[in-house]
C-alpha cells in the first residue's frame, strides 16, 4: 500500500466525463480529492491523493494519461517563513485541516504540520505579515 499526491489537468473537452470514478472501479484505488477546480469550457485542475497497490497506482496513472489528462506530481509545497511570522495566530482558524495550529496554549506558539497541509492556500492572504509561501 502506497500513496501518491498528483496534480491532474483536464482538457476542457473532457471535464464532463466521469474519469476519476474509474480509478475506483477499475484500479481499486482509494483517492482523496484535496482540491478541485472544474469550470465549464475551461481547463480543469484537481489535486488527488491516490492510495493503493503500487502496480494499481501505475495502472491508474496510465489510464488517466490515456484519457488525455496531464499528470504532474504534487510538488507545490506550503512553507512558513518563520523569520517573517509574527506568531499572531490569524491563520489557525482559517486553516481547514489544522496544519497551522497552536502548539502550546500557555505561550500560544503557532506551528505548522506539513503532513496535514493540503496546499489549499486559504492561509496565504489572511496572514498579516505574509509569512506563508507557496513553493513549486
Amino acid at each position: 500500500m502506497t500513496s501518491r499526491k498528483i496534480v491532474l489537468t483536464f482538457p476542457k473537452e473532457k471535464i464532463d466525463k466521469p474519469i476519476v470514478y474509474k480509478l475506483i472501479k477499475d484500479c481499486n484505488l482509494v483517492f482523496n480529492i484535496m482540491k478541485a477546480s472544474i469550470t465549464p469550457d475551461q481547463e480543469g485542475h484537481m489535486v488527488l491523493e491516490l492510495s493503493g497497490d503500487h502496480s494499481e497506482i501505475e495502472k491508474g496513472i496510465k489510464y488517466l494519461k490515456d484519457q488525455g489528462v496531464a499528470i504532474q506530481p504534487l510538488s507545490k509545497e506550503i512553507k512558513v517563513n518563520w523569520d517573517k511570522c509574527t506568531q499572531c495566530g490569524a491563520c489557525v482558524s482559517i486553516c481547514p485541516t489544522e496544519a497551522l495550529y497552536i502548539k502550546d496554549r500557555q505561550t500560544m506558539e503557532v506551528a505548522f504540520d506539513p503532513e496535514k497541509c493540503i496546499a489549499c492556500e486559504l492561509c496565504i492572504r489572511p496572514c498579516p505579515p505574509r509569512a506563508i509561501e507557496v513553493h513549486f
Partner: protein, 412 residues
C-alpha cells in the same frame, strides 16, 4: 506599606530589584497573597505586540543644495505618499497609507501588499528608501525636484509617533453574514466561521493598571525594541467603558499616544502587515513597567486571562453601522483555548495580537530592568480617568451645501 519609584530605581541601580512579568506575578499573588507580593516585588513588566493602525513616523531628511521645501508639494517614500504639510524637509508617514497606483479594493478583496507600515519597517531595518519630492519652488527654497535614496542612519531625527496604541481591551470580531468579510481583525468566515480577538490579555499594559494609577504622560516605556515614552492619552481614549469589579473594562477603553527614537528600534518589533481587503498596518511592540507601589497596584497586575472579559461583535453589521449590539461576552482564557460559543455554535478562535511576542517583550523588559539598563520614570501628568474624563463621541454630522464654503458661510 508603600514604596516610591525613586526607591525602586535605587534598588534597580544596585541590581537588587525584584522584577517579574505580568504572567509570573499571577502565581506569586496566588501563593503568597497581595501583602507579601507587594513587599517582595518591585516591578511587573507587561507587553503587547499587534497591529496598531494609528501609528507613524516623522523624520528630517536634511537640506539639499540649493534648498527645497517639500511642504505644500508631493512626497513619496518607496512610492508611498508621505505627509509634508509643514516646513522644508520634515516628513510624516502613516502606517496605513497605500501607493497612489495601488489597486486598493477595486478588485475586492485587495492585497495591500505594501504601504506605510512596510516603509517604516524597512526604514528601521536600515534599508535604503527612495525619496521623491515635487515642490513648487520659492525664492528661499528654489529647488523643485528631488529623487534620491535615503537611509535612517543619515536622517537628522527619526521618530516613531503613534496617536493611538495599546488599546485597553478590544472587541472579538465575528461575521454573521453569509459571505466572507475582510476586516482589520482579519478574514472572517461567514456564519460564525471564526472569531478573532486582539489583546495580550493578562500581559497587556493597560489591563495591568486599569485606572492608570502608575502610568501616565512621561512614563518611560519599551517601544519597538528601544526606549520610548507615553506622550499623551491616545485618541479615542475612553475610560468610561463599563468595568468589572476588578477595574478591568469590558469594552475597548483607554489608549496611549507613544513616542520614541526610531533609530533605536528593531524591525522585529516594528513590522509592516497587510490585512487583505482592509489595508496596510504596522505591528508595534510595547512594554510598560508597572512599579509595585502598594498592595492595590499588585492586585491589579495579578489580573488573569479568565478575569478579563471582551465583547463579541458582528463585523458584518453591528460594527460597520455603529450599532451598539453585542452578541455576548467571553474571557481571554476561553478565547485562548481555541474555541468559544456564540449563539449556541462552537466557533474557532484566532489571535491577531501575538501573545508569544508579548511575552518576549515582557521578558526582555524584565531583563533590561534587572541589568540596570532601564530605569522607571515618574509620570509627569495623569491620563484622563474617572468620571471627569472627556467622553468619546461619534461625529454629529452637519451636512454642508456645496456653496457654503465658497460664500465663506459657517455651519450652524
Amino acid at each position: 506599606m508603600a514604596k516610591t519609584i525613586a526607591e525602586i530605581n535605587e534598588r534597580i541601580k544596585r541590581g537588587k530589584a525584584v522584577v517579574v512579568t505580568a504572567e509570573e506575578i499571577i502565581e506569586i499573588v496566588d501563593k503568597k497573597g497581595v501583602v507579601e507580593a507587594a513587599k517582595e516585588v518591585d516591578v511587573v513588566t507587561t507587553g503587547t505586540f499587534g497591529p496598531m493602525c494609528s501609528s507613524g513616523a516623522y523624520f528630517n531628511f536634511g537640506h539639499t543644495k540649493p534648498k527645497l521645501k517639500a511642504g505644500g508639494g508631493k512626497t513619496l517614500l518607496n512610492n508611498v505618499p508621505a505627509y509634508a504639510g509643514w516646513a522644508a524637509v520634515d516628513l510624516y508617514i502613516g502606517a496605513t497609507v497605500s501607493a497612489p497606483d495601488d489597486p486598493l479594493n477595486k478588485i475586492h478583496p485587495g492585497e495591500f501588499a505594501y504601504g506605510g507600515g512596510h516603509v517604516i519597517e524597512e526604514l528601521v531595518a536600515g534599508k535604503d528608501i527612495r525619496l521623491q519630492v515635487e515642490a513648487y519652488g520659492t525664492d528661499c527654497y528654489p529647488r523643485k525636484h528631488l529623487d534620491t535614496w535615503i537611509n535612517i542612519k543619515d536622517l537628522n531625527e527619526a521618530v516613531l509617533f503613534n496617536s493611538r496604541n495599546a488599546y485597553q481591551n478590544y472587541n472579538v470580531a465575528v461575521n454573521l453574514s453569509d459571505r466572507t468579510i475582510y476586516t482589520y481583525l482579519g478574514t472572517l468566515k461567514p456564519k460564525l466561521g471564526n472569531a478573532n480577538y486582539c489583546s495580550a490579555g493578562q500581559l497587556s499594559p493597560l489591563l495591568n493598571d486599569p485606572h492608570f494609577k502608575t502610568l501616565g504622560i512621561g512614563t518611560r516605556i519599551w517601544l519597538g525594541g528601544g526606549i520610548g515614552y507615553i506622550a499623551w492619552q491616545g485618541t479615542q481614549h475612553n475610560p468610561h467603558a463599563p468595568r468589572l469589579a476588578n477595574g478591568v473594562p469590558k469594552r475597548p477603553a483607554g489608549t496611549l499616544a507613544v513616542i520614541g527614537d526610531l533609530k533605536q528600534m528593531n524591525p522585529k518589533w516594528i513590522k509592516g502587515v497587510s490585512f487583505v481587503g482592509y489595508g496596510v498596518s504596522l505591528n508595534v511592540g510595547i512594554g510598560i513597567p508597572i512599579p509595585i507601589l502598594d498592595e492595590e497596584i499588585v492586585k491589579y497586575t495579578a489580573v488573569k486571562d479568565e478575569d478579563i472579559i471582551a465583547a463579541i461583535v458582528d463585523y458584518s453589521d453591528a460594527y460597520p453601522n455603529g450599532k451598539p449590539d453585542v452578541l455576548g461576552e467571553v474571557d481571554y482564557k476561553r478565547l485562548k483555548s481555541g474555541e468559544i460559543e456564540v449563539k449556541g455554535k462552537k466557533v474557532p478562535t484566532s489571535g491577531i495580537s501575538s501573545y508569544k511576542r508579548a511575552l518576549e517583550i515582557a521578558n526582555d523588559l524584565k531583563e533590561k530592568i534587572k541589568r540596570g539598563e532601564f530605569l522607571l520614570s515618574e509620570k509627569v501628568a495623569d491620563l484622563p480617568a474617572g468620571d471627569s474624563a472627556p467622553k468619546f463621541k461619534p461625529l454629529k454630522e452637519r451636512p454642508a451645501k456645496p456653496l457654503d464654503f465658497a460664500r465663506g458661510k459657517e455651519g450652524k
